[in-house]
Structures are given as structure tokens and as C-alpha cells.
Symmetry: C2
């Protein structure tokens, strides 16, 4: 069975040494009291919960899956999930990043994000239950009426109730404008909602007394398309005025999907059979309200993939040190044993280091974005909030798509390290591959992310936000320009920065002629942009490692070598990506549809 | 449920138009009577069997898996597998490529290979039962005594019995030199064999009366390591002198593996508890004898991946034409519908064309190697046999690793085309991804393949065999040098040919200093070599397509566009691969093992 050791040291390195997070957070009125000890203590306790409570029920949860009782419409998650959830709320974990007004601890997004990385490493399927809840909390916090907030937020904060997001219908996922679920006003300010939803994560389970569904539906007079969608909150059990639970609302789980992975999470088909709900936000502005939840969810998906990359790496590295098989081509390295541990083989190391570099790069990026989100939410300065918000918007599709694509590569490499044993369920590593696969698809496919990045976040503002981020890179390049030891990192960083600028301009010009050029280049472009961002963080981490590597702490040596590996073996992927991005639309569109 | 349409036209194109296979085969004494009609008739009938009998039980077989009765040690494959197998032997299919002396039809390897591509598209898990049998047939045909051949070959040819290869043990897979299973002589020419084997595909089932296990084991006086391994044939039921079945041999299935995919195949743990067998080939030369089977199996694995790539492509293409979602960025393409079919989106086309190009390139390569294998086996000229054999040896690791890596990429892309629906079992496409994953690992991991290619097949003979293949490329480049329409294909082909030559020399030089440099570069190198080979075949196919595209047959237009796509979007991967291959060993070895 796989093991999980929370990477506390690397998390602390990123927070305290790379991002100087405490000083940054202290500038924000909401976090003026934060300190290093609090952060470290929370990380340590969260790590214990992840490794001791969640990791042991991950493999068994995958094998068992969830079960639906078709007569009662009730769902049982795998053994141990309910008990783990009870411990989770007992520990007060759901409240970590929530508003003190509703019982939350008001800690930074950054810390909540670090907690979730660990939960995801230990058990992605389980973590989706509280993860979806937190998303529902955020949407209601941002767009709910006072009444809705009073009714739902304390329970979501305590974790006594969980939440879902009910968007997808059988005929529409990416294109929510096509959705058909109907909401009819009942005249008392509430609505009767009827329709069928699918792919509802954490959609039904017996771990809590009530489930708060956020449902997209159409009002009777709604315009067609995405401008006619409204958001409703629909509880599983109606809530009485005194907060006690009332009658069962007809929002039923009618089926569970058989999925490639995340078996422990109940992916529900939900039938709304005249269920009663209330409107969240403005009529016909539901998609906008839901985007609060969706953007958080996209960062969350990157974080899921970061978690899987880390845990897959840890286990594959342990296996590679333990498993003996063949001799090094350069001669025996463990002559006392009948064969060498497979970590002597260069390609085994390459697979391991790929996962390690993608984990460390992903962590730096994820934490940077989380800290920036804290600024966007809590800065006292409106300009700083706006600037931070723009940067989060720019980086969100990269966090979601780049980290999830990387996790697919990394977990598969880690599985390969196990040889045939990796294909066997008991190894646990094939589960990481299967679980990670959904991350490339849900919350907006990675193609959708790439269009969001290149079309909406970059070209629509003529690259203004990208340029601001580019200035940070340029400043660092400038700053280290005379540092001899940094040249191996600074030169390729400067180079990829220039190339992204040129590539962006070139695609922008082509897109004037034909907007489909954006679609032809976007996926390649996103990976190039992702590498630029990773190169920036690896260069910055290498700088710290170079300064401290003689401290006697081998952590810095390892960090330096991982950065070197990244520049030598992963960043060069951009050479191909830039070519294919530049080769444009025509090789994709020549073939008539009928010939496919 | 996925559908499968045998790609008869493309198979016939490769055989008859690209490879001119019938004329080539007619030169071989064993196949002097072959003709186009026979080939096409066999393909058509084989395709019917695959699509009508095997495809319908693929998804259900995945869900059901195999069941072991722990008291009787008997295994039941999924519903329908036994009946399909009965139809398979009734149709005489196992005999297709077998020696007429033992009841075979003596048809070319090429044709058998084409049959297997279709069987694998329809149902890889099922196809492994006859596939392993055919491997056992080949090993016994090449190395068995007359007695063994007489006893086993007719039954393997008719399909009444099936075969296995029992190599792996819990502590050794890649490194068979470590194996521990013991063979003790019984004095009557037979041996008592004791040990534990794992990962035995098709290791136990109830589809036939007897199973012929080929088992690697050590004789009492055997030298340590891989030079002390002998090969034995161990039937499930002993065979009496009159050919009837005798008593049960103690070779028992003690467990079935829970795997990521190929659930319909019984991957057995096998206990040999003093089972009686006879020696195949020379004592202590078992690995060499087994390599006959293993080389065939490696080509077979490439063929499995080709099959999965093709079927995944077909289904994803159909889905992309049917599923409507969003509008093209360049404006509505199906204004009469509420949204456009997703095939209008450039990235959806990119994913589909990637799978299509990998299928068509893989088919050209696979069939070329199969035809070359026919020459190696059946040419009347010893020099031609030797030359063909060398070329097959060179290309085998490329067929195995390049096509299986490509299938992993392609099936995942096809799954992505389905959006969230691809993650659901019922779509069938996630099964293709899971099934394809084992192909990168078994029969020698893809890392092992890359070391075989670069170390053994290329550097050990100073690139002599590679140069011969390079001359074919150079001749084609020369021949088309003045053909204006071919420049878009010929120039990059010449370029990649040059680059492979330079890269090979450079790695060879480095390897003199440190043999581990081979291990650092080999995986990247194999993909570069694979692309060179694909570029060669796509250029040749493009030439035919250019000549015939005005014939009114849109097949040639599609072929031309697929070739253009390949050169524009896939071949450029080599730009990165060459860089990472050249960046060498040091970024992989700097980190101390303890720091992983």
C-alpha cells in the first residue's frame, strides 16, 4: 500500500523562503496577526490527518467505490470515509479558510491550499467531499442573500453540511448555455426546480445530515443561451426558520457513474423533481455567480494534481531504492547484492526527477497563486486587489491545465518505475494515474483552459496582464544578470520569456485573420506559458539554493539539482511546442469532416 | 458502447500500394501462390469476426473480469469469451500463420499480423489468449524436439490447446537472471519443476482442454545469472503417448492479479509444485529459446497498441461529429443546430488527427516489419534472410515502444475528445487507455526497448544496420529530390535522417567515456528514431496519395492531409527530444540516492 509523508519542508521552503509569505500576509488587514509558527503548526497537524487518517483508506476506497440504494436514493461512500469526515469536522478543518463571521478561522487561502495539497495526496476522492463544500461556501459567501448566508454558511463552515455544484446535464457540459433545467417561481420568493443533472461530484452521501446543492437552471422568461441561466440553492432537506431540518426536498440521486478513477467519490446523476430552492444572485446572472465557485475549483484541480504528483513521486522513489534488478551499465553499484537498486539506471532517475520537478514547480506556482489570491481578497488597497485579481485570473488556467497535464505524465512515469507491479491495483500507483486523469477534463477541459488563457486572459487585453508578469521575470533576469552562478538558469529563462512574447504577438496577428488560429495554437501555447512560469520559479528557487547550499542542509543541494534537471530535461519541451503552435491552423482544417 | 469498423481499405493500401506485398511475398518459395484476393478475403472475414464477435464482449469483459475458484484452481474468463474462442477455432483462425506440417495454413506473417491488429482493436484482453498460444507455438516450432512438436504443435495450431510464457517471478521481471524456479531431472528425460511465477497472461482458463506452459527454470548444476536458465514445456494435463490427456500436472493458478486494465485476460499467479515437464532446446540456453517467443511478443505488443489507437480514433471521431457543444471561434458552422459539432474546434481535430496519424504510421511500420519478417523466415536466399533478420531486430524495439507510447498518447487524446463522458466506463474509451497502458510495460519495458535499440541494435555494430535503413531513406530522398510537390515531405525527412546520424555518433562517443550515457539518452533516442521511420513511411504514402488524389477517391486526399498533419504537428517533437537526449547524463546523476 502506498505511503504518504507530508512534504512539510518543501512547503515551508516555498512559503517562507521563496514567497516570504508571512511578511506579505501581514500587510493584509485580515491576516495582520499571522505568524510562521501558526502556519507550521497547521501544516503539521493537517499533514498528520492526511497521512494517518486519509491515506490508509484511499486504496480500499478505490476498490470498494460508492453504493446507491435505488429505493431510498441514499449513497454510502466506501468504508472509513464517513468516520474520517467526522474526524475532519471535529478537528475544525472545514473552517480553516472561512469567514470568522460564520464561525470560520479566517486563515489565508495559502494555508488552506497547502492543507488541500496534502489531503489530495492522501485521498483525492475523499477530499472532493469537503472540497466541493468549500466551493459552495465561497459562491454563497460572494453572492448569497443575508438570509441564505445565515442559513447555510455556518453549517458549511463547521462541515456539518456539505455542498455541491450542479451544472452539467447529459447534453451539455462545456456549453452550459444549452442547459434545460427549469425553475418556476412559487410566488413566495422560492422556486420549483425540475431537471436532470449528471456528473455531480459528492452529489449524495450519508456523511452529513444535509447537502446544499447549487443548481443552474432557467427561469420561465429567461433568454436563450448562457445569458439565461440562474443560480439556485437547493438543500437536500428543507431548512426550517429555526435552522432545524424540514421535509426532504425532491432532489434525488438516481444513479452513480462507473468511472475510471476517483471511485470513492459519489459522482451522481441527480434528478430534480420540483425541488424547492431560492435564487442566488441576480436572475439570469447565474453563470457569473457560479464562476466564483468554478475559478476556485480550477485552482483546486491544479492542487489535486499537485497532490497526486507528490505522492506518486514519493512512492516510486521509495520503490526505486528498494527494488533490485539488473546492473548499472557502468558497472555494479551494489556489488554486495544480486543486482543494483533500479535507481542507478539513468532513465529511472529521469522518470522520478520528472515527477519531482513537476511537484516542486507546481507547488511553487500553486502557492504563489494562493498568496496572490489572498491579496486579491484582502488587500486594503483597491489597486493592489485589482492587480492581484488580474494575475490570479491569468495564472488560473495554467494552474489547472499545466499542473494536471504534468500529473498525468508524472504519475504514469512513476507507475513505469514499478514495472509490471505498477499495473497491479495493490501497488496504489495505477490509482494515482486513473484519479489524475479526470483533472484534465473536469472544471473546464484543458482545451477550454487554454482558450481561456490565450483568448480571454491574454489576447483580449493585448497581453497587458501577461506583460506585467513578464516584467517580474525581466526584473529577476536583470537582477541576476551579473551573478555568474545563476547564468545556467537566467539565460534560458530570459530566452523563454522572449519567445513567449514573440509567439503571443504572432498568434495575435494571425487571429485577426482567423479567430480559429487561437484554437489551433492554444494548447501548445499554454504549455509554453506554463514552462515559462515554472522556469521563473525554478530560477528563483535555485538562487536561494545556491546561497544556502553550503549550509550543510542537503535540502538545498537537492533543490539545486532538481532545478538543473528541470532546465536540462523538461524546459526543452518548449522547442517543439513553439514549432507546433506556429505551424498553425491549416494542417488541422484541411481534412473535410466527412473524411474523419 | 464503442463500435469497430475494420480499416480494410487502409490495410489494403499499405499492403498492396505502399509495400507491394504480394509481389514481394511471391518471391518467397513458401508464399509463391499468394494473391491479392486471398489476402483481401482473409482480411474481410477476420474483420467480421473481430467486429461482430469480439468487439461486443470487450466492455462487458472489462467490467466482469476473470474469476478464480480457489479450491479447484480453475478460472472462468468473462461471459462470452469461451464461446468466442470456440468460434475462433471453428473458423480455423489459429492455423492462419502456422506450418502446414502441423495443420497450419502457412499464410504469411504479414497477414496474421493484420488479423491480429483487428482482433486487438476489438478486444485486446481476449486476443491475448490466442496471442500467447501463437507465441508458444513459435518457440516450440523453433526449439522443440520432434517429440514435443508432434505432441503440441497440432493442438496449438488447431487452437484446441492454448499456451503461455512463464517467465516473471515476484522478485524478477526485467532481470530474469535472478529467477529461482528449479527443475530437477527425473531420470527419464523429464524434469520436476518447482517455483512461483507471476503475471502469467492467459495463465489459466476453461476455454480449452489443456494449457501448454513454457516455463523458465534452473537446472541443479546451472551457472548463476541469465546463463543458467533453461526452458521447459509443462502441460496443465500430462499428455499420454496416444495424444490423449493424462493426469493433472501440479501447475496451479493460485491467484489472479487485480489490474488497471485487460481485465478479461487471466493474469495468473502460477505455482509449480513439482510439475513434470520436458526440456526445450539446450540446457542453460533457455533465455535464448524464449527470445524467439519474446521478439514475436514484442511485435505483438506494438500491434496491440496499433489496434487500440485505431479503435479509439474511430470512436472519438464519430463522437466528435455527433456531439454538439459551443460554436466555432470563427462563427457558427451548423447554424441550424443549437451548437456546432465539436469537430469544428481545431484542438479536437488535433487530438483526433494525432490518433489517426499514429494509427496510420503504426500500421505502415508494423506491416513493413511483418513483411520483412516473412523474408527473414522464408527467403530462399541466405543473405536476404540475414539482412531481413537484422532489420527486423533493429525495428522491433521501435515497433514495441514507439507504437505503445503513441497509443498511450492517442487513446488519452481520444478520451479527452469525449469530455467528461470519456471518464465513464460505458463510453468504452477509458478502457482503451487502461488496456493500452500495460503495453508500455510488459514484454520488456519501453526503457528496456530503448536500451536494446541504442545499445544492442545500433551502437554494438557501430550503426551498421541503422545505416542500411538510412540508405533506404536516402535513396527515397534522392529519388524525389526534383519532385516539387514532395518537397514538404522530403526536406524534413532528409533533415531528421541527418540528425539521427549525428545524434547516434555523438551518443556513441559519449558512451565510450561512460556507458551510462546510453541509458540517459536511449528513451529520447528511440522516439527520435521512431519519428524518422514514421516520417519515411508518411513521405512514401504521401507520394502515392499525390499521384492518385485526382482519381476521385477521397481516400488519397485524406491520406495526404494526414501526412501533412504528421509533418506539421507530430514530427516536431524531435526538436525537443534531440535536445534532451543531448543534455546527457549529468542532470540525472548529480543527486545522491539518499536525497530522492
Amino acid at each position: 500500500m502506498p505511503q504518504y509523508n507530508p512534504p512539510l519542508r518543501d512547503m515551508q521552503f516555498v512559503m517562507h523562503e521563496l514567497l516570504n509569505a508571512v511578511d506579505e500576509l501581514k500587510q493584509l488587514p485580515a491576516h495582520a496577526d499571522i505568524d510562521v509558527d501558526t502556519i507550521n503548526a497547521v501544516l503539521e497537524e493537517g499533514g498528520k490527518f492526511a497521512s494517518e487518517v486519509l491515506a490508509p483508506i484511499n486504496l480500499s476506497g478505490d476498490l470498494e467505490g460508492c453504493t446507491l440504494d435505488k429505493t431510498t436514493h441514499e449513497v454510502k461512500p466506501p468504508k472509513g470515509f464517513k468516520e474520517a469526515y467526522a474526524q475532519y469536522i471535529e478537528g475544525g478543518w472545514p473552517a480553516l479558510g472561512c469567514d470568522p463571521e460564520y464561525g470560520g478561522q479566517g486563515l489565508p487561502v495559502l494555508l488552506n491550499q497547502a492543507l488541500y495539497e496534502m489531503l489530495n495526496s492522501a485521498n483525492q476522492a475523499w477530499t472532493m467531499y469537503p472540497g466541493l463544500s468549500h466551493g459552495a461556501y465561497e459562491a454563497l459567501h460572494a453572492h448569497g442573500t443575508d438570509e441564505q448566508k445565515k442559513t447555510y454558511l455556518p453549517k458549511l463552515t463547521s462541515g456539518e453540511w456539505t455542498g455541491t455544484m450542479c451544472l452539467t446535464e447529459p447534453h451539455c457540459g462545456t456549453d452550459l448555455g444549452l442547459l434545460r433545467t427549469k425553475a418556476e417561481p412559487l410566488g413566495d420568493g422560492s422556486y420549483k426546480i425540475t431537471g436532470s443533472k449528471i456528473f455531480i461530484s459528492a452529489g449524495e452521501h450519508d456523511m452529513v445530515d444535509n447537502i446544499v446543492h447549487l443548481v443552474l437552471a432557467r427561469l420561465p422568461d429567461a433568454p436563450q443561451g448562457s445569458k439565461g441561466i440562474s443560480l439556485f440553492v437547493v438543500p437536500k432537506f428543507k431548512v426550517n426558520a429555526d435552522g432545524s431540518l424540514g421535509e426532504r426536498n425532491p432532489v434525488f440521486c438516481t444513479g452513480l457513474e462507473h468511472k475510471m478513477g476517483i471511485h470513492g467519490n459519489a459522482t451522481a446523476q441527480i434528478a430534480l423533481d420540483g425541488a424547492v430552492g431560492t435564487l442566488v444572485g441576480q436572475p439570469n446572472k447565474g453563470l457569473m455567480a457560479m464562476f466564483v465557485m468554478m475559478n476556485a475549483a480550477r485552482l483546486g484541480v491544479g492542487n489535486q494534481s499537485l497532490g497526486l504528483t507528490e505522492v506518486a513521486y514519493q512512492n516510486a522513489a521509495a520503490y526505486a531504492k528498494d527494488r533490485i534488478q539488473m546492473r548499472a551499465l557502468s558497472g555494479p553499484k551494489a556489488p554486495d547484492k544480486p543486482a543494483d537498486p533500479i535507481i542507478v539506471h539513468p532513465d529511472v532517475r529521469k522518470m522520478l526527477l520528472t515527477a519531482r520537478a513537476y511537484a516542486e514547480g507546481g507547488r511553487a506556482l500553486s502557492m504563489y497563486v494562493a498568496l496572490t489570491l489572498d491579496k486579491a481578497l484582502s488587500s486594503g488597497d483597491a489597486d493592489e486587489r485589482k492587480e492581484a485579481d488580474d494575475e490570479v485570473a491569468l495564472l488560473t488556467p495554467i494552474v489547472k491545465a499545466f499542473i494536471s497535464d504534468n500529473a498525468w505524465i508524472a504519475t504514469s512515469h512513476c507507475m513505469q518505475v514499478y514495472g509490471g507491479h505498477g499495473y497491479i491495483h495493490e501497488s496504489g500507483v495505477e490509482q494515482f494515474v486513473r484519479d489524475s486523469r479526470i483533472n484534465m477534463t473536469y472544471e473546464g477541459t484543458n482545451t477550454v483552459q487554454s482558450l481561456d488563457l490565450l483568448g480571454r486572459k491574454i489576447l483580449s487585453n493585448n497581453g497587458a496582464v501577461l506583460k506585467k508578469f513578464g516584467k517580474k521575470i525581466a526584473a529577476f533576469v536583470e537582477e541576476e544578470g551579473t551573478n555568474e552562478a545563476m547564468q545556467e538558469f537566467i539565460n534560458p529563462l530570459a530566452d523563454i520569456g522572449d519567445k513567449v512574447t514573440k509567439l503571443t504577438t504572432e498568434i495575435g496577428m494571425k487571429a485577426f485573420q482567423n479567430p480559429d488560429e487561437v484554437g489551433a495554437a492554444a494548447v501548445d501555447y499554454l504549455r509554453v506559458a506554463g514552462h515559462m512560469v515554472f522556469a521563473y520559479f525554478f530560477a528563483r528557487m535555485a538562487k536561494i539554493a545556491l546561497e544556502k547550499k553550503d549550509s550543510g542542509d542537503s535540502f538545498y543541494t537537492a533543490k539545486l539539482y532538481t532545478a538543473r534537471f528541470y532546465f536540462a530535461k523538461l524546459l526543452p519541451e518548449t522547442a517543439s511546442l513553439i514549432r507546433t503552435a506556429r505551424s498553425g491552423l491549416s494542417p488541422l482544417m484541411e481534412m473535410d469532416e466527412a473524411l474523419f
